[in-house]
């Protein structure tokens, strides 16, 4: 992909982000932060590439460490989000 195509994706995604985030209800702003946290750990893609590369041992270990950190975030982020979301209930449930 050339730089301009990537830049196009980026700019359009910023607009998508703008409209999608404004549509998030304020009551769910904390889960929003937790889930954005989890998805920003997509950086694990880079960590995996580094960890799979054998050319530089140091780079490989840095990559593996990054994989651990990103995984904490991915699993922790999604789990804590779903834990929070499960708590939001409508009226007249239970009791």
């Amino acid at each position: 992909m050339d730089f301009i195509s990537i830049l196009s994706i980026f700019v359009l995604a910023c607009f998508v982000g703008y409209y999608v985030v404004w549509s998030v209800t304020p009551a769910l702003h904390t889960p929003l932060m937790a889930v954005t946290n989890a998805i920003s750990s997509v950086i694990i893609v880079g960590a995996l590439i580094a960890a799979a590369g054998a050319a530089s041992p140091l780079a490989k270990w840095l990559g593996l460490l990054a994989v651990v950190l990103a995984s904490i975030n991915i699993f922790g982020g999604f789990a804590v989000t779903s834990r929070m979301l499960a708590m939001y209930k409508k009226k007249e449930r239970a009791e």
Binding site: M1, I6, I9, V16, V24, L32, S40, V42, A54, Y88
Partner: protein, 514 residues
């Protein structure tokens, strides 16, 4: 077979585990990343309502699984499928060990992440989010460093003298720019989030720490980082890269220490935004659409949340970033303590609320600190049994992060359709018999509407004073709110102060009601 592919084959024989990005990413891989990106968009879209939010979260997980599996397939040779067929056996043997290491790393992370997510108290959510931000930042730094040390694996380098042993790897200037910026943002996210975590967790004072001529130091450091990144595009020397990294760590630290506790909602959302931009910068380096889409989503999400928070405090983003707010606490508040006020007991409060048609509860950070949300809901249940209408009013900056109060109330099983945002409930206070303020202060201060000299003048506040009676729970008449201003509300005729720990007071009210 073209000459280019031939060189590739020799290279991949020399460096077996290296994915050959140079040959161009296969179509299915790009498609998979695009699908992952779309999943992430839908994950956020789901949050527009609590009804669809769970499904959105699952889509997010699916998107992440797609991105990870695709990356692993490519990194371990499946990217060659449909091009030259799978690699030879030796190639696969070496990869299995690396694959095991990676899976182990993921498993370690998964265990730590899942245990933390399960054990964390809902009141500690702001700290947790800050800690998670720091991990994203650090991961971005590590990936950046790895890409700098092994640029070939990332497909961002050209080998000047291939195969020859001391060969020279030249990273593309554009990639160096992306790498430099990505690492800088990642490092700022990391050290900034660590400070935010320490402040939120109480390991560090929430009060702003002000260094002399801090603006000069900060601007100078930022300028130095930008100049070095620009230079880095021209000169690939390692010292530039590591200096950028070190300076960015320092500036992240310096940027957050002068910011006070009450401004933490802005800081947490701002760092959220940074972690997104760091991911996006890495996405540019890797030409990966999933990372770029996610980075843009997270970046704008954090930016919008910061904007909402600033608007809710009537402060400019720049003044929050400059820090120092709340540093002059209790100045001028001294004489005000002698003003007369009405003090009530739990029994008085119970009596007033039982007689009411409608009670509006206004929770704030103090409720979170006292962990009073569960007992508060019990109180609301008892009132409802008496036929009293109970509603909750949430100010956007109540608590230490956006939506903090909503989560705590949800944890205590408060139905979300009883919880209202500022603009939806403010007109109702005039028809409300009792406004019950628990742990909130500045967000109820009428001075924000009338007193032009007040530091919080112009901030949108909840019109609690319009209710027939205001019950205000406060530990003592001493300390002021985080903005360091006295609350005029305390001395009004229709205000009754309930001076006690929030949880204890509500417990006593519950006893009196039962």
């Amino acid at each position: 077979m073209s000459a280019g592919t031939h060189t590739d084959l020799i290279l991949s024989a020399t460096f077996p585990a290296m994915p050959s990005h140079d040959a161009g990413t296969p179509g299915w891989v790009m498609l998979a990343y695009l699908v992952a990106g779309v999943c992430f968009i839908l994950a956020l879209r789901g949050l527009s309502s609590p009804v669809t939010s769970q499904r959105g979260n699952r889509l997010g997980m699916i998107g992440m699984a797609i991105a990870v599996v695709t990356t692993l397939l490519v990194a371990f040779g499946a990217g060659e499928l449909g091009r030259d067929g799978p690699g030879d056996t030796r190639y696969l043997v070496i990869d299995q060990l690396a694959l095991l290491e990676i899976l182990a790393a993921i498993a370690i992370g998964a265990i730590i992440g899942l245990v933390t997510a399960r054990r964390i108290a809902m009141t500690a959510m702001p700290q947790l989010v800050a800690a998670f931000h720091s991990l994203v930042g650090l991961a971005a730094v590590l990936v950046g460093a790895a890409a700098f040390l092994n640029p070939e694996a990332f497909g961002i380098a050209t080998r000047l003298t291939p195969i020859a042993e001391p060969s020279l790897l030249l990273i593309k200037p554009l990639s160096r720019l992306e790498l430099g910026l990505g690492v800088a943002i990642g490092a700022i996210t990391f050290s900034g989030s660590v400070i935010a975590f320490l402040k939120l967790n109480g390991n560090m004072t929430g009060a702003p720490i002000l260094l002399p001529c801090r603006h000069l130091i900060n601007l100078g450091t930022l300028a130095a980082i930008l100049v070095l990144v620009a230079w880095f595009t021209q000169d690939q020397s390692p010292w530039i890269f590591w200096t950028v990294l070190a300076l960015s760590f320092i500036i992240g630290f310096l940027l957050i220490i002068p910011i006070g506790g009450a401004d933490m909602p802005v800081v947490v959302s701002m760092l959220n935004s940074y972690s997104g931009w760091a991911a996006a910068a890495m996405g540019f380096t890797l030409e990966n659409s999933a990372m770029i889409i996610t980075g843009a989503l997270v970046g704008s999400s954090g930016a919008i949340l910061s904007y909402i928070m600033c608007r809710a405090m009537n402060r400019s983003f720049l003044s929050v970033i400059a820090g120092g707010f709340g540093a002059v606490a209790s100045s001028g508040g001294g004489e005000a303590i002698d003003r007369p006020y009405k003090r009530g007991s739990a029994e008085d409060a119970a009596f007033l609320m039982r007689q009411a048609d409608q009670v509006v509860i206004v929770p704030g950070y103090g409720m979170a600190v006292a962990q009073a949300q569960h007992i508060l809901r019990e109180m609301a249940d008892l009132l409802k049994k008496e036929g009293v209408k109970v509603k909750y009013a949430i100010h956007p900056v109540a608590g230490r992060m956006p939506g903090h109060m909503n989560v705590l109330l949800a944890e205590a099983n408060v139905p979300y359709d009883e919880v209202f945002e500022l603009e939806d409930i403010n007109s109702e206070f005039a028809q409300t018999d009792v406004a019950f303020v628990i742990g909130a202060n500045d967000v109820t201060n009428p001075a924000a509407k009338t007193d032009k000299s007040s530091p919080i003048y112009g901030m949108p506040v909840l019109d609690v004073e319009k209710a027939r009676t205001v019950l205000f729970i406060k530990r003592s008449m001493g300390g002021a709110g985080y903005a360091g201003v006295d609350n005029e509300l305390f001395y009004r005729d229709n205000t009754m102060m309930l001076l006690a720990d929030a949880k204890k007071m509500v417990e006593e009210i519950v006893k009196a009601l039962a």
